[in-house]
Amino acid sequence: MKFIIAIIKPFKLDEVREALSAVGVAGMTISEVKGYGRQKGQTEIYRGAEYSVNMLPKVKLEIAVGNELAAKVVETIQQSASTESIGDGKIFVLDLASATRIRTGESGDTAL
């Protein structure tokens, strides 16, 4: 099993979700996060007072999938989240040691 973490632009979330559903991803967890990479920040100006905002808002997806689906998921996220500009985000893939469905106690691939 693989655990996939993707950081994407917030406005791309719906597109990514739809694309992932289409390839068979059954669930995901998302959170609103802030961070920076090559995109750096923005400048805000209030009555002439300039503040540079270093951290930009992003959405973080967390998805657990079986080994056979992992490569497809990464490819799908990459394609659906891309705007071909700086700040589109990153995708990380980790090995997942176990997964358990709380309702039934099932574990392994069947719990995903």
Partner: protein
Amino acid sequence: MMRKLTSGLLAFGTIALTATAAFAQDAAPVPNPGNNAWMMTSTVLVMMMILPGLALFYGGLTRSKNMLSTMTQVTAAACLGMLIWVMWGYSLAFGATSYEGFLGKFISGGSYFLSSVTVDSTAATFSDEVISEYVFVAFQMTFAAITGALVFGATVERMKFTAAMIFIVIWSTIVYYPIAHMVWGGGGLILDWGALDFAGGTVVHINAGVSALVAAYMLGKRKGYPTEPMPPHSLTLTLVGAGLLWVGWFGFNVGSELEADGTAGLAMINTFVATASGALFWMLAERAVGHKPSALGLASGIIAGLVAVTPAAGNSGPFGAIVLGAVASILCFIVVSKVKPAMGFDDSLDAFGIHGIGGMVGAIGTGIVYSPLLGGPGGDDFVMSTQVWIQIKSVVVSILWAGIGTAIALTIVKMLVGLRVSTEDEEAGLDISEHGERAYN
């Protein structure tokens, strides 16, 4: 009654004074219900400028941890201003007893606790009409109430609530009431010079703005200013507040005619167009220096335009008012975004930068746009240079009086209770440390 009639009048006060003498002999003048009704409406419109208008405008500009403190200071200052107005404020500004000689130029007396006011007593307007004196007392009360609250734009996020309240009592007594008398009261120094101040450019805006500047210096900067970011926590509420201020300002400016007549109509159109001009020219100024045209710029320009047109409301043609709004807005923008950072004082919400500077532009500019050549209501005998000199003199007197008076008031407050909250309380925010509440849970 005759003395009463001498109280109370704005730019054309001298005309009103001569017109009132005859009434005392004849039957007592009866207020026109239409004018009374309009003045009651105006009065509550000015009330709406304070709460919720100014409270939201200022509140949105502060950090979320100081939202309630800001709104509470504005509102409580207005409440206190109302109570001391009926105790001794009306007396010092428009009281029934005129003092002879030097003292009479600065204050009046009598009428303490409204002792001379009855349901039948009246105040003269600028024509041969009168309005009920209780209505006049209430209308002027709202002006006194908002002016003190405006000063707190410079001191938010660090001034103690108790200090703010004591300040209002002392400052109103030694600064606001004398200036109101000088500009509007019978026998007042500036009124007798022939200065034009339709709705309070000197009394309200220069006065509040200069007092705010002195207060900003005496309190010192907020902890962390200007290195730490202190962006406004809700420009949405600030824009809501700016809208309420604009609507309420029709009571302020148009009501200052004291009648629902043609000059009131002129004040109304000017309050629309000068403000619209100020709003857009602030955004243009932002573009000119390479910034984006901002919502806060729009809101600031609205206030700058309103402030500038206040003394000119019934004293300018609509196109003079448009120019006045534009010039004031550009100058306020420069002071707020360039001069203030260079000077390093922490006028937190720009009470001086907008009310002080906009008020000065408006007061001096009124001496120009009054000219019939520019579409103003001045007569054929109007001499611009003479009028502008009178306007400048009235501005200088207001600046000195407000500046010195505020320094005295704050010094007394500092000796009594201190001005600032502790660093720890400032860090936690005044909502929790001064009032024991949070605005947002």
